[in-house]
Amino acid sequence: MNAALAVELLIAIINQAATISALLSKAQAENRDVTQAELDSLALADDLSRATLIVAISARRAQESKQA
């Protein structure tokens, strides 16, 4: 695997782990469950990542068409 790619993937995964860890820490420190608003916020972040993935798929498909 390309080293830069590996580092990029690793950072992305660690960032996501940090996101959920911070969320759980905050909720547990406040002795409460994760709220619906917090779940909405995570769902919104996922919507953004979905949109980015769709763009990447289109770009890759265009690249594959050029190569064919």
Partner: protein, 136 residues
């Protein structure tokens, strides 16, 4: 010569594996991943999701992580457009599953737990697939 080429690859793959273990532990609270995460990452203790809402939250984060991983692999030319489309489709199914579990949690806890468990199975399988593709 061979060792000089292979060692960095082993290190990178190991790091990704460690991170995947951590993510899987955080997300679904799978006990067998906890030791793997602690053993490979050296990141100390991890905070496991306990309640249904916490596990749904972790599920959302894992779906996002998988989409971002697929985006990175697509941009690096490690994933074909068709593979990317498959990841999109599977993550959409998982996201829908999480939404359903969230809705059911208010009325039918058993069904919500079952839906979440089924969704997590799909997510872990997809995570392993993407890790393999990234390691190639």
């Amino acid at each position: 010569m061979t060792k000089e080429v292979q060692m960095p690859i082993v290190r990178h793959t190991w790091s990704i594996l460690a991170a995947v273990c951590v993510a899987a532990t955080l997300t679904v609270g799978i006990p067998q991943f906890a030791g793997c995460a602690a053993g490979t990452s050296g990141m100390g203790s991890v905070l496991l999701p306990q309640t249904l809402n916490e596990r749904i939250a972790a599920g959302y984060v894992l779906v996002t992580t998988l989409r971002e991983t697929a985006t990175t692999l697509l941009n690096a030319g490690k994933l074909t457009a068709d593979d990317g489309a498959n990841v999109l489709q599977i993550t959409d199914v998982a996201r829908d599953g999480l939404n359903v579990a969230r809705m059911l949690s208010a009325t039918d806890l058993t069904s919500a737990e079952a839906k979440l468990a089924a969704t997590n199975t799909v997510l872990v399988a997809l995570q392993q697939y993407l890790t393999q593709r990234g390691a190639q």
